[in-house]
C-alpha cells in the first residue's frame, strides 16, 4: 500500500487524458546530461514526448540542491554551475518552505521503506501541494508514494 500524504490522497487514476504539469527528479537532470548513463536515451525520449505535449516542468528547491551536488561530483563543477544558472528556465521551482519541510518530515516518518529518501518525500509533498500527479523519474520507489512515473503514462 502506498503511504498516504496528510489530507487528500493523490488520485490513483489509470488514464491520464491530458498531462499539463510534470515534476522532474534529480536522476533525470543528471541522466540527460550523461551520455553513459543507462537511462540517458530513455530520458531524452520521454522529454521529447513531454515537449510535444507542451507540459510545464516543475521541481523543488530540495531537488535542485541534490542535483547540484550529484552533477558536481559526477560531471564536474562547471556543469553544476551551468545548471545553477539555468534551472529557473528549465523548470519552475517549488520552494520547500518551513511548512512543506515540516510536512515532508512527518511524511518521512510514516513511510516504512528504507529506500525512500527524505528528498523523495519532500518531492511527493511538493507535488501534492501543487496538484502535480506525474513525476519524470526513473526511481520506481515513487510508486510507493502514490505518484505516477512518466514512463507509466506515456
Amino acid at each position: 500500500m502506498p503511504a498516504r500524504l496528510v489530507g487528500r490522497a493523490i488520485p490513483n487514476t489509470t488514464n491520464m487524458p491530458t498531462i499539463s504539469k510534470v515534476f522532474v527528479d534529480t536522476n533525470v537532470f543528471v541522466a540527460i546530461r550523461d551520455i553513459k548513463d543507462s537511462t540517458h536515451s530513455r530520458a531524452v525520449k520521454i522529454y521529447e514526448e513531454f515537449k510535444s505535449k507542451k507540459v510545464k516542468f516543475f521541481t523543488s528547491s530540495d531537488v535542485i540542491g541534490e542535483t547540484l551536488t550529484v552533477l558536481a561530483k559526477k560531471l564536474g563543477k562547471p556543469v553544476a554551475k551551468e545548471f545553477l544558472d539555468n534551472f529557473s528556465v528549465l523548470t519552475r521551482e517549488i520552494f520547500i518552505d518551513p511548512l512543506l519541510h515540516k510536512e515532508s518530515r512527518d511524511f518521512f516518518k510514516r513511510v516504512k521503506s528504507k529506500n525512500i529518501s527524505f528528498i523523495d518525500c519532500s518531492s511527493a509533498v511538493a507535488m501534492r501541494r501543487n496538484k502535480i500527479k506525474i513525476i519524470f523519474s526513473f526511481d520506481k520507489d515513487f510508486r510507493k508514494l502514490g505518484v505516477k512515473l512518466a514512463a507509466d503514462v506515456l
Binding site: 537532470f29 543528471v30 540527460i32 546530461r33 550523461d34 551520455i35 553513459k36 548513463d37 543507462s38 540517458h40 531524452v44 522529454y47 515537449k51 510545464k56 516542468f57 541534490e66 551536488t69 550529484v70 561530483k73 559526477k74 560531471l75 556543469v79 551551468e82 545548471f83 539555468n86 528556465v89 528549465l90 523548470t91 529518501s117
Partner: protein, 84 residues
Amino acid sequence: MLVRKQILLQDSHEYAIKELAALAGKSFSQMTRELLDKAVKVEGKKIRKKAKKKMTQFEAWDKWIAGAVSGPGDSEYDKYAYDL
C-alpha cells in the same frame, strides 16, 4: 586597440557629444568611446538578462541535452548518490 568603424548618428547625438567633449576637454572620439563603455556595461546587463528570460523552457532543455558529455556511468552515479 582602436578600430575605425563608420556609424550613423542622429544629429542630436552629435551635438550632445560635441558639447560634452568640449566641457570635458576631450576629443569627440574619446568622449564617444567613454560614453559607449558605460552604455555597454549598463545596457548590456539589461539586454543579456532579457535575452536569458526570453529563452523558453524547451529551448533550455534542448541546450541542456546538447551539452551532454560522456560521464562515469551508472555505477559511479550510484556511488555518489548513496553518499548524499
